[in-house]
Symmetry: C2
Subunit: 323 residues, 2 copies
DNA sequence: CGTCGGAATTGACTTATGTCAGCCGCCGTG
DNA sequence: CACGGCGGCTGACATAAGTCAATTCCGACG
């Protein structure tokens, strides 16, 4: 992936300014352009990730609540985002985006699911220059009644990280189990799904099974269907699939009609970052935790406290995931 | 590793300024301190790696020469540093430090050898906050007639990355083979050496076998001894050990008296970054390449050109290391 | 309990950076 | 070949950030 000649000068300016520590006027003289241009190039360099400015997220993971949750739930890292006036959602997204970026390594394969939360994260994801990273979409698409589509989430994140995006175009949910099975068997789809357990890190949230939940709003399920599933024990939604309170896939037609990363594949990904901020997601989150879908967790403080009420904070934790 | 309460405010200031994009006066108001303090905290945040500003090194790896070398030598990435007036050495170190930092991932184990080049790199290594990284020393120490000791290189890099440094204190070279063997068998030493092949990434240069080479200057070898070794085929020095033109350890008493990472251990490290800038190191570098000690290479442009003269640039390369 | 030393903090000033309207040159079009 | 439009660049101004001497705060010690 060669640098466009036009961008060469941006790289040079960024290098001289940020790495050598020259002032803008010195860079301008060096490159024989005006200082104003240097300022412009530097802005572009930041915007495109040629220069990456990352702030440690330790502030959020180094917190008694966060430590207690790590211990109580046996998680690798927990970030607790304090209530910040009104815009907690945005703050959570910001922390999640920074923390996620911190976790990504060279050559990683990233799985991204979708939902309002994930979209919000994509929206504040810093720009970076991770050319050897691949972002794969974890679940099928929906028509477009909704503003954020799975493929958009994937692509937006890939764009910002300057990574390769790997989308697949299949509906999230079909009307017949047979059709879903056949579609899953199509090479283009099968390959995408088969690649998922090879992922290094996943990013998702968990959905509720309320009447106003995401799965209903986006048209995957009718309120009536959802009521039925809830009666059968539905507790949450992960990558488009319904799980029960233990985090197991609910044995229902809907789940068999979904085209998405299957739950075992998700669990095969070593780092699973879940991001949740709404208090109402408590039960769904507990189901996701029970199902082993989480190794890294970003939560808002109030939800963190509720979560801790259910998990004895001082018990010795089960061993955290090995290196 | 909890944040010292005093540092908490630095983290907060950095987060508000760099991640939220507030201005310094806004941060000052938010935290109820003066703007001057904010400026000071931000400087500290940068200096300690709480905030990490990284510039892409693509400028140096995306270059015809660099690409040709990658192909010709089957290396993973090559950075070519253009002649920059007088201070090429420093520029090479800067590129090496940036490129090296880019290659490090979470939880990595880093091996560091020593020499003037490595010390120069340590000296310009950006500060970062890689708490779960370990830096291990690859070779034994020398008394202290020289200003840069292996353990200093290791510690300095560890300090700057906020990583854990793992030193071992044994002389680089002893007077008898028996003593060296016994010392290598001491648990403290044996463990350190045994851990080396588990490393994820190594950083070193290669030494020449000239009369004014590092091994002579630091007193490991007398000029006379070196002449003898050269007659026997010595071509370069890696982590204190003499290699021949094919990169194999020279069968000599000196090598058996050295306490250092053995060559097979070095080759077991998946990423091996070698940094060389002096033209006179051409032969030594070729030996190191022949021996398979290099996967990532940072070189100055003149040396890169000479290197290419020996390796047909347009041939199809042997397959690069698989993922 | 007073005083001294050092570190942290600040106000005021200097310096550097961000911004934007206007300009210049290039290219495609009529 | 003239014209219009567009993108990139710059000069000049407005704004933000860096700096440093002076001051305050705190804790230790006589």
């Amino acid at each position: 992936m060669p640098i466009r000649p036009a961008d060469q000068i941006i790289h040079k300016a960024a290098w001289l300014y940020y790495t050598h520590g020259l002032r803008q006027d010195e860079v301008a003289r060096e490159l024989d352009i005006s200082r104003a241009s240097v300022a412009m190039y530097l802005r572009k360099a930041r915007e495109t990730g040629i220069v990456n400015i990352a702030t440690s997220t330790q502030l959020f993971s180094d917190d008694v609540l966060a430590r207690q949750l790590e211990d109580a739930l046996g998680l690798q890292t927990v970030w607790v985002v304090p209530e910040a006036g009104r815009s907690t959602e945005n703050e959570v997204a910001l922390v999640a985006a920074s923390a996620f970026l911190e976790q990504i390594g060279r050559g990683d394969r990233i799985g991204v699911a979708w939902g309002r939360t994930v979209y919000a994260i994509a929206d504040v994801m810093p720009f970076a220059d991770l050319q050897d990273v691949v972002v794969v979409q974890l679940c099928g698409n929906l028509g477009a009644p909704y503003s954020y589509r799975p493929d958009e989430c994937t692509m937006e994140i890939a764009r910002r990280l300057n990574a390769k995006g790997l989308n697949f175009y299949a509906p999230l949910v079909l009307t017949s189990e047979r059709l879903a099975a056949e579609l899953r068997d199509e090479p283009v789809i099968r390959e995408q799904l088969a690649g998922i357990p090879e992922g290094d890190i996943a990013l998702y949230s968990v959905g509720t099974v309320d009447e106003d939940s995401h799965v209903v709003k986006c048209g995957a399920l009718t309120p009536a269907e959802l009521r039925g599933l809830r009666a059968e024990g539905a507790a949450g939604v992960i990558a488009g699939q319904i799980i029960d309170r233990n985090g197991a896939a609910l044995d229902c037609s809907y789940n068999r009609r979904v085209i998405s990363a299957d739950l075992a594949s998700l669990r095969a990904i070593p780092k699973r970052m879940m991001v949740v901020h709404e208090d109402v997601k408590l039960d769904a989150l507990r189901a996701a935790l029970a199902g082993g879908f989480v190794t890294h967790l970003v939560v808002a403080a109030p939800l963190a406290r509720k979560l801790l009420d259910f998990a004895p904070p001082r018990e010795t934790a089960p061993a955290a995931a090995a290196k």
